[in-house]
């Protein structure tokens, strides 16, 4: 049974929201330019408006309909992303998580928001049997992933770097205890919430944006939030669903599958991006907690649709780590999944639609009726 995520979107607090002006309009398709203001132009013709900005070490995209909702949605998403960053980033000295890491205490009273983020990470660890584990932070640091990925030199010419053959230790998620907002973290354990935090952020942001637009009161409209490709939607989708390209490469020569998401969430984990080299060894950001090294299974990209983006995010990452056991593990969850192997072969599970033309959805729908 997948874990559930219960989260509460918060109203923007003073000083937490970054300027909406950071967002840039996004063109959707040829000749269709989304207008942030949503007052005129092609965005109104398309019926949706979209904008994008850098956030949390990746890109954030918000799509809204009706287009005039975009402004309120962006403000709400700004607030949620700022909150999550201040709570759970291990790359910011002023984040709450960094303060916990610096503290000599082993018992901490944390905010409700950080407690939620850690709680979701621990729930994911429990659900996946430890395939995803928030205590990989120390091992990631040992491998050189100790700052925003954009700041990591692909192959440093100096500095210690990791010692080949000696991965960082992974203490294991069971060493972390969370009771309400009381966190017990053994000395030296470094948390990395990367397997769930982006998904949680998308969940929070989509819910907050939807509420900010007043749609929760019964109005008609919909929101899509993507954080680095981890997508959550809220409200009513466009007719037929939100079209989303599922791709495991930025190379347009590699085919993408386009799916339509009518509700909930979709997330993808991949080892094709966020790679770097140390000591001549090619590394990536998805660690196998059992070894402390980057996962080296047969799958390079896994996409999963689930009821929440945190759940989809965790499942996709767990499948990468599970390696040859990924198919069995994902099949047991029943979640629609798409796996791409290093040789490019694709495996579809749990009713994920066949990319070949128009699918016989009726046959697959049974698998989705949980």
């Amino acid at each position: 049974m997948p874990f559930s995520v219960r989260f509460a979107a918060k109203a923007p607090g003073p000083g937490t929201a970054s300027p909406v002006a950071d967002w840039v309009p996004v063109g959707i398709g040829p000749g269709v330019l989304a207008d942030v203001a949503g007052t005129a132009g092609p965005a109104v013709m398309a019926g949706v408006a979209a904008a994008e900005r850098a956030a949390l070490g990746t890109s954030a995209r918000v799509v809204a309909w009706p287009p005039e909702d975009l402004g309120a949605a962006l403000a709400a998403v700004d607030a949620e992303l700022a909150r999550l960053d201040l709570e759970a980033s291990r790359f910011r000295d002023d984040s709450e998580l960094s303060r916990v890491h610096r503290s000599r205490d082993q018992v901490h009273q944390v905010s409700h928001g950080l407690a939620e983020a850690i709680g979701v990470a621990l729930a994911a660890a429990r659900w996946t049997g430890g395939l995803v584990d928030p205590t990989v932070g120390g091992a990631l640091i040992a491998l050189g992933y100790d700052r925003d990925f954009a700041d990591i030199a692909p192959e440093p010419s100096d500095g210690p770097g990791p010692v080949a053959g000696q991965p960082g230790a992974v203490p294991g998620w069971r060493s972390v205890m969370l009771e309400g907002t009381t966190l017990r973290l053994p000395a030296g354990v470094r948390l990395d919430l990367g397997a769930t935090a982006k998904g949680l952020g998308s969940d929070r942001a989509a819910a907050a944006a939807y509420a900010a637009c007043g749609r929760a009161a019964g109005g008609r409209g919909g929101i899509l939030v993507s954080l680095g490709g981890d997508i959550a939607v809220a409200g009513l989708p466009p007719r037929g669903g939100w079209p989303v390209a599922v791709a495991d490469s930025s190379d347009t020569g590699v085919p993408a599958q386009v799916v339509r998401l009518t509700a909930d969430a979709l997330a993808t984990s991949s080892v094709t991006a966020r790679r770097w080299r140390r000591d001549g060894r090619s590394l990536h950001h998805i660690l196998d907690p059992r070894t402390g090294w980057p996962a080296d299974g047969p799958w390079r990209t896994v996409s999963v649709a689930a009821a929440s983006c945190a759940e989809a995010n965790a499942a996709a990452t767990a499948a990468i780590v599970a390696g040859r056991d990924a198919e069995a593990w994902l099949a047991a969850t029943g979640l629609p999944s798409r796996l791409v192997a290093h040789d490019g072969t694709t495996r579809l599970l749990g009713g994920w639609p066949d990319p070949g033309g128009c699918p016989d959805l009726g046959a697959a729908r049974g698998a989705w009726s949980w």
């Binding site: 398309a46 007719r239 599922v246 791709a247 085919p255 009518t262 509700a263 996409s303």
Partner: protein, 133 residues
């Protein structure tokens, strides 16, 4: 017959009968009103559902060539209206951190040279699901 000339016993009997008829009549009227309201509500809901189902089928057939869209959970109403947009190009890419690209697509049945496959529908709603931890 003039009431003034009835004997008292007959008048009391008549009054009791009238009260009984009025009560019965009032109860019947209330029941009729309630039944009418229930029936109206039922048909209103049925009509809305039928409208939504018809619209959903038509949309799905036009966009992705499938026979219906189901299972959208947590949505504020299923009715499809004129303002609900139809988007025929991907609005986002799910490809893992760092993978970003836009892909132009075509609807099923339009043919012709798109760089990707036709859109299909993923439905993840799980009616009645309850969380466990």
């Amino acid at each position: 017959m003039d009431e003034e000339h009835q004997d008292p016993a007959a008048a009391r009997t008549r009054a009791r009968g009238l009260r009984r008829v009025r009560r019965w009549s009032n109860g019947t009227a209330a029941a009729l009103i309630a039944a009418t309201a229930l029936t109206t509500g039922y048909f209103a809901r049925a009509s809305a559902s039928a409208t939504a189902a018809t619209a959903g089928t038509a949309v799905a057939s036009g966009i992705s060539g499938v026979s219906g869209v189901s299972g959208a959970s947590g949505q504020p109403g299923a009715a499809v209206g004129a303002r609900q947009p139809c988007v025929s190009v991907p609005v986002a890419t799910s490809g893992g951190s760092g993978v970003t690209r836009q892909t132009v697509i075509r609807s099923c049945g339009t043919g012709g040279g798109g760089s990707s496959s036709a859109p299909v529908v993923i439905t993840t709603g799980r009616p009645g699901e309850g969380g466990d931890n």
